[in-house]
């Protein structure tokens, strides 16, 4: 079966971002960008399904600027067969991205779509669920285990009190949680081979999708800074401070 994986280019998770002085957003000029960590897990899961003989083709798709081709090449080096970039320079809302992905799903007809549970820049945790709603498919969000048998998929999900398993009819949407797998690294020969794999570039217009939004970001501020703390010398001093100064115990 065909598996579609969505990946996002985001600021690297190790970067401490800074808010722009004019409060229009965060400063992303000259900052290291990477594949969103949850998307890496999504690619890894698709590659493992292919290694098990369950998946026959892995198509990786990204919605973003032309530089997102780097992240698509990374996914190709990790084992994806071909890539699609829906090129759009501006930041889009999750709903707009879900609509674009729906158009790609209609075109490619995958049996399984794997996304990360959230992107570490916008922290929305919406796109997979929205894509499932638009396509009318079942959704297995926050997956820690995915097992395909026949025409259904059993997804073990991380929920607040523990774990839950649901069974979904294929085609279905799965979003990955951190513990689904440990993503591999791309080897140098595979990075070279990935340069020759096909990468198709589309636009929202070509897909006939409007990216208009009902949300507007008015401003972006730095969070309130915590006042500097103190170092205590002993456990006794710590307990004394907590009891008499902070009055929390």
């Amino acid at each position: 079966m065909k598996v579609l994986v969505a990946v996002k280019r985001v600021v690297d998770y190790n970067v401490k971002v800074r808010v722009k002085a004019d409060n229009s957003g965060v400063d992303l000029a000259n900052v290291k960008m990477s594949m969103n960590p949850f998307c890496e897990i999504a690619v890894e899961e698709a590659v493992r399904l292919k290694e098990k003989g369950v998946a026959t083709e892995i198509v990786v798709v990204s919605v973003g600027p032309s530089t997102a081709q780097e992240q698509l090449r990374t996914a190709l080096a990790l084992g994806a067969d071909r890539a699609i970039l829906v090129e759009n320079a501006e930041d889009l809302t999750s709903l707009a991205v879900a609509k674009l992905l729906k158009a790609v799903v209609d075109k490619e007809q995958p049996q399984l779509v794997i996304l990360g549970k959230q992107a570490i820049d916008s922290d929305n945790n919406q796109t997979g669920q929205m894509l499932a709603a638009l396509s009318g498919y079942g959704q297995g969000t926050f997956a820690s285990k995915v097992e395909i048998s026949g025409d259904s998929v059993a997804v073990t999900r991380e929920i607040d009190g523990g774990a839950q398993t649901v069974s979904l009819k294929l085609p279905a949407i799965v979003t990955t949680d951190l513990r689904l797998n440990e993503p591999r690294y791309a080897s140098l020969p595979n990075i070279m081979k990935a340069k020759k794999k096909p990468l198709e570039v589309l636009t929202p217009d070509a897909l006939g999708v409007s990216t208009a939004s009902t949300n507007k970001t008015v401003k972006v501020e730095a969070p309130a800074a915590r006042s500097a703390g103190i170092k205590v010398k002993s456990v006794a001093e710590l307990v004394e401070k907590l009891k008499n100064e902070a009055k929390v115990i």
Binding site: N14, K16, V17, V26, S94, L95, Q118, I120, D121, S122, D123, N124, Q126, Q129, M130, A132, A133, L134, G136, G138, Q139, T141, F142, A154, E158, I159, D160, G161, G162, A163, Q164, T165, V166, S167, L168, K169, L178, R179, S213, T214, N215, K216, T217, E221, A222, P223, R226, G229, I230, K231, V232, S234, V235, A236, L238, V239, L242, A246, V248, I249
Partner: protein, 309 residues
């Protein structure tokens, strides 16, 4: 303006996060209706009717809603929600699972994990793991929003007397089914609602050593959390994880033991009132956010702390 709040529950008990969500709804202003979708959730509906500020409770009782499967619950919420100005749910694993599906069905953008209400259409929410706060304005006819519980003080669970009304609508998409669940058992307070949280990290070395934290937590009436490193190493189950990808907590007192303080972890706890860090590495980033830091070996400090509190 009328606001629909989706009740968070397990068919038996109304979850406390619902009270924080009603508090956010009260800040927006207008009548507040609560939807209880489930199976045999009569007790939950009764509890919801007593919540201060709730005008009406809608009960959709159907086997299809028993396990909160989003394929069945989301069409119900979207259908009922059309008549409301706002649809709110707690940013729990259930709320996050269901609400984006509702928003897409209504063809509107969603606003996730708001921490404050600026006006009826403008809200604040953290982005980049809490390293920036965005103010977002929505022009949608129905505003679909998840609420971060720690951003709002809960309303009183008693004092209201809302009318309870049954909703007949049944949606069963027939594309998903519940197989089973495995819930972690604990007698300690729930992590996201606890006044005091004691968390352990990689420095705990193994799962067995968490017994020191449990002993301290029991003395303080605290919940026990963990960093991702401790969860990934298999010391404790993943529902104990505090951070961007785990739970968001904001207790009165957060004690971080053997936790370095990665950005990912800080995103889940830096709104705590008082933060204490116990770590033997005095360069650990956790000391930059800690109100009180103690550079010490945790295996000596924790038993001593337990004796003194």
């Amino acid at each position: 303006m009328t606001i629909l709040v989706i009740a968070e529950h397990d068919n038996k008990v109304l979850a406390p996060a619902t009270l924080n969500t009603v508090a956010a709804a009260a800040k927006i202003g207008g009548d507040i209706h609560v939807l209880v979708a489930g199976q045999g959730a009569g007790a939950v509906a009764e509890a919801a009717a007593k919540v201060a500020g709730v005008a009406k409770v809608l009960v959709a009782d159907n086997a299809a809603y028993a396990h909160q499967l989003p394929e069945n619950v989301a069409p119900l919420v979207a259908e009922l929600g059309k008549g409301y100005s706002h649809i709110l749910a707690a940013a729990t694993s259930n709320g996050k699972n269901i609400l984006p599906r509702v928003a897409a069905a209504l063809d509107v953008d969603q606003i996730s994990e708001i921490i404050s209400v600026e006006s009826a259409d403008t809200f604040k929410r953290p982005i980049y793991a809490g390293n920036a706060i965005a103010t977002v304005q929505s022009s949608a006819a129905v505003k679909v929003i998840t609420v971060r519980a720690t951003g709002f003080d809960p309303v009183a669970a008693e004092g209201g007397s809302a009318a309870v009304e049954a909703v007949a609508a049944a949606h069963d998409a027939g594309i998903s089914s519940f197989v089973g669940e495995e819930l972690a058992k604990s007698d300690r307070p729930e992590l996201t609602a606890a006044k005091i949280v004691v968390s352990g990290g990689r420095g705990m070395q193994n799962g067995d050593n968490f017994k020191h934290l449990y002993a301290l937590a029991d003395k303080l009436g605290a919940a026990v959390g963990a960093s991702r490193a401790a969860v990934d190493a298999g010391f404790v189950p993943n529902d104990m994880q505090v951070g961007q990808t785990g739970k968001i907590v904001a207790p009165q007192l957060y004690i971080a033991v053997g936790i370095s303080g990665a950005i990912q972890h800080l995103a889940g706890m830096k709104d705590s009132k008082v933060i204490v860090a116990i770590n033997k590495d005095e360069e650990a980033p956790i000391f930059q956010v800690a109100d009180y830091g103690l550079v010490a070996d945790l295996f000596e400090a924790i038993p001593e702390l337990e004796k003194l509190v």
